[in-house]
Chain length 333, copies 2
């Protein structure tokens, strides 16, 4: 993690150190919301005294949770910092007396300005810049939550996080080397699919969701849905036949069992040539320390899938970022 980011995180945590807190809300939209699902997973697993919700920013405002008040911490995230619902959510949370921390690429953005405290992160997806993943949205979110837990006398995951952040970018680079070439072969089959489903559980749920809605739907106009690996068996699995296209994510943690069960079903009743499996067991994750091994797998998978998306876009002759017809093209909605 870069010195600036580390200082931002420390300053935000210092500022709330004396504040009594009884709830954490993780609030964002779309791709930024997707990382909050992993943040909630971390909190659910490790925080007996800090219940946590992840909510879409405008849902958060309308729902106006009864637990939102002076004892609530609200962490908000928007890449550009201009997402209007998220900016409004920061204002709303402060009106309710909560303390707010913004995560954004831009510390001069409306979201950063609307929040009490602010932490910058970096991204390569839409900016194209070369970053170290220890400065990514996942890394910064975990640093905030881990710092919060340590500050409150709950689990001290700081050494494990520091170890994992140091090894994260090389781990991603190796994963790309291992996976990107073999999975490129699926682009031909997926290019003409009437629908592509992503499938995951636990901390991988956000990456599956983000790839479905922000990449396949947004940038390729492909019908998609992220399906939870157990919910799969309570309805969605009936769409499976030999022509069904699924991307199945398999992590390393306790929810891997759910993902394996769904993968096994897909391999049996689908056509393995149409089932793209990303399996963390195939990767060298030795540089990551528990519990961050399972918690960084969604970031690794998303980076790999981002490369796959470009391959898919090339086969479909539909350039990725240029493909949007509404987002950043029209404004009156």
């Amino acid at each position: 993690m870069g010195a600036h980011t580390k200082a931002d995180v420390a300053a935000a945590l210092d500022a709330i150190a004396e504040r009594p807190l009884s709830h954490v809300f993780l609030v964002a939209c779309g791709g930024s919301f997707s990382i909050m699902l992993a943040g909630k997973y971390l909190m659910d697993r490790t925080a007996p005294d800090l219940p946590c919700d992840a909510l879409n920013a405008d849902e958060f405002i309308c729902r106006s949770p009864a637990r939102l008040g002076p004892r609530a911490l609200v962490i908000l995230c928007s890449q550009t910092g201009t997402t209007k619902e998220t900016v409004a959510a920061a204002r709303f949370a402060r009106e309710k007396g909560a303390v707010t921390i913004a995560m954004s690429l831009d510390l001069a953005s409306p979201l950063a300005s609307a929040s009490d405290h602010r932490v910058a992160y970096r991204a390569h997806y839409t900016t194209g810049e070369s970053i170290d993943a220890s400065d990514s949205n996942y890394a910064v979110l975990y640093a905030l939550l881990v710092g919060l837990l340590a500050q409150r006398g709950q689990a001290d995951l700081r050494p494990a996080l520091a170890t994992s952040l140091a090894g994260l970018q090389p781990t991603i680079d190796k994963a790309k080397e291992r996976l990107c070439a073999p999975i490129a072969a699926y682009a031909e089959s997926f290019a003409t699919a009437p629908a592509v489903y992503t499938l995951a559980a636990g901390p991988n749920s956000g990456a599956a969701y983000s790839f479905a809605i922000c990449v396949l739907m947004e940038m390729q106009w492909i019908n998609s849905q992220a399906v939870h690996a157990d919910e799969f068996f309570h309805g969605p699995f009936e769409v499976v036949d030999k022509s069904a296209r699924f991307i199945a994510l398999l992590g390393t943690g306790p929810t891997r069992r759910l993902e394996e069960r769904a993968r096994d079903f897909l391999m049996r009743y689908g056509d393995p040539g149409n089932i793209l499996v990303l399996d963390a067991a195939d990767l060298d994750l030795d540089a990551l320390a528990d519990p961050f091994r399972e918690l960084f797998v969604p970031l690794i998978f998303f980076d790999v899938l981002w490369v796959f998306a470009y391959r898919l876009a090339a086969v479909r002759q539909k350039p990725m970022l240029e493909a949007r017809r509404y987002m950043k093209k029209i404004t009156n909605y």
Copy 2:
């Protein structure tokens, strides 16, 4: 609400009256999980001292939340009471020291037996029996939660619930009369769609989810996804063109604003002939008292959509319940 159901609810609540509680988990799979989303919405809106999570049953087990312990109440639901993940979740919760209440059609079922307390509800969807909606899953879940809140000295919503339950079935009957004939016209267009999306926010999210995964995918093998009405603008809306088929749900509560915004976009950039709108503002809901007006709308919508599903199935010549190829047909998964 029938006398038996009322007695079941009262007995379950009496049994936990003296127990200190700091968290409520709502745990189920598929269609039963979908109602838990509305239960969480009710708790989020009205319970400052009882944080609440809604989780898929097997995710709940694997996640093993840090707040699951003797001060947790776990409400589980399975129609047949045989859903293996939900039965296992009840056992898991009890091992962790939590108190469990099962909701099921069958009080002799494995789920009911595995739980500390049990409440029967009734359903017409897959059983075909004629029921009063005050004995439905939504009604029983709300009765449990409302009783819990009153018992804990939080909001007393019992009078409003009693009023609403008395007027619920006539309200549903009128809604069906009002909506079923006009929306039947959409069946022809939806019959050949490559994908049908459902769209909702707040308490309607579960109904949209259940219709997408348990009806369109499970019983008609139609590609589908339930899209949150604000998340829609952060990716999914890019699939909208004149051929896109959406079912948009519009409720009556504070999250209606989100649903209106999405509906307006769909009407502008889609073809209104392919956008099926169910609008609670068109219904006579006078018999329902706040906050149960918005909270029973998803049940009303689901009942209306259930009729629509049969119309769709007739056009597609694909009978509803007979259409499953895996569920209740194969067992080794």
